[in-house]
Assembly symmetry: C2
Homo-oligomer: 249 residues x 2
DNA sequence: GACCGCGCTTCCGCTGAACGGAAGGATGGA
DNA sequence: TCCATCCTTCCGTTCAGCGGAAGCGCGGTC
């Protein structure tokens, strides 16, 4: 019933962050395919370089696919432009710096930058988190189109900590605030030990295409002291995007 | 004749760094497919999220594919571990820092780190360069298996500048040198204006899995002053890789 | 050393999904 | 209004993909 294309993609999607290396049988099971079918598909994917086979016989995502994916404008493409600015921001703040975009009703982290001395955070490049519990999420939600916003607020909002804001009315107030101030401060909503200061990054046509944040430990630090730097960096990236020939939808 | 899987991958491979956004017809032409076939494939790929359609109607690589590809152990996976160290190295040197792996007979750049003030270099994350003309390439070639090394040295070696070393005998001498000193210095071999200092990154089993380099302007700077920092960083990453549970083939 | 279990690989005949030529929009420029 | 370009849909034919089954290779167990 399913098309070949869909099957190929399902094979790729069988890999996940917690299981990035799979045997053929695991792969077949996860993709819901008979072993012989999986065997053929995986063989073709491996020959092309979309998958690679490790010394242990397990398969993992290959470099060739990574190269192609690096062309995703909202992935490494956006990253490429933003990187020098993130770099500068990291140097000023010496805290985790993150860049994220909106996809569906979630945040996808496109870049995370941290020295060895920074606080450990559990976001991962390529990872997803919900919109209502992160600084970048609040920024993206605040500037998302109203239809999406209502859909997110109408759905049940998962609680991560005692501080997670799960009340639609209160979130609505926070989002309005984000729109007027131009920054979001998410305090302990996803992890009690950290808070983040986020600001919107705009594309050439003025739409918000990404959000950027600094994650700092919540013990005593005054988040407001980070606001100017975060805001300035976000503006810098927006300007660089406008100047670059690439257009982000 | 070609399998569906191959076609799907060819569609993805139609995107390149210089043309990351394509109309349906361009895509069909590049992939060598009839328009109607391309239309169907692209439709399925878009529905899944492997491709996205921009406001202008052009297609580009999608976020979903990027997420999957981020699991490539030699791509973002390796990157993830190395990042904090690269970060630290950048801060000490304030020069371009690069991380690359070997694929086939070329170098693939996995990460490039630079502030706004650094020299502009023409490498790009996800990009490829030949082994004989770059610092990271020399390191990877020096530690590659002898079969590959001979194959590379036997093939014609492209000249990029007057300083590019294209003589197999001289290269062989340089590679031996890299193995004894543990660092490679590539002076103006790819661009006259810059030189790079590179060192090997080893996986848990001692194999060289990547190389790391600092690119500095060639005007008067003494490359040897960078050697200790580069070497220390490479060792640090190697140790971190050994400590992490992920194994890089 | 014979047996078993597990995971991978190969084979092959059937079938329906993929194919692509052709016709039909949609858009925009002359 | 006409033409050019690009995109979308349709539909009959065919052959590539399918997957059950059988075979292989290895490591563990009695």
């Amino acid at each position: 019933m399913p098309t070949v294309t869909a099957r190929v993609l399902d094979v790729l999607a069988a890999f996940s962050a917690d299981r990035p290396r799979l045997t053929l049988s695991e792969l077949a099971a996860r993709a819901g395919l008979p072993l012989s079918t999986a065997h053929r598909l995986v063989g073709e994917l491996t020959a092309w370089g979309a998958l690679e086979r490790g010394d242990d016989g397990r398969y993992h995502v290959g470099l060739r696919l990574w190269e192609v994916a690096a062309l995703a404008p909202r992935g490494l493409g956006l990253r490429e432009t933003a990187m020098p600015f993130l770099e500068d921001l990291y140097e000023v703040t010496r805290q985790n710096v993150q860049l994220a975009v909106l996809d569906g009703t979630e945040v996808v982290y496109v870049e995370r930058l941290a020295g060895r001395s920074s606080v450990h955070v559990f976001t991962r490049v390529g990872g997803r988190l919900p919109l209502h519990a992160t600084g970048v999420g609040l920024v993206l939600l605040a500037h998302a189109d109203p239809g999406l916003r209502e859909r997110v607020l109408a759905a049940p909002l998962r609680r991560y900590t005692a501080k997670t804001v799960c009340d639609p009315a209160e979130l609505r107030r926070m989002l309005a605030d984000v729109r007027t101030t131009g920054v979001a401060i998410s305090d302990g909503q996803i992890e009690l030990i950290s808070l983040s200061v986020a600001a919107p990054v705009r594309g050439p046509n003025g739409d918000v295409v990404a959000a950027l944040s600094v994650v700092v430990p919540s013990d005593g630090t005054n988040p407001h002291s980070f606001v100017p730097a975060v805001r300035a960096t976000a503006r810098g990236i927006s300007r660089a995007l406008a100047a670059s020939e690439h257009h982000f939808q």
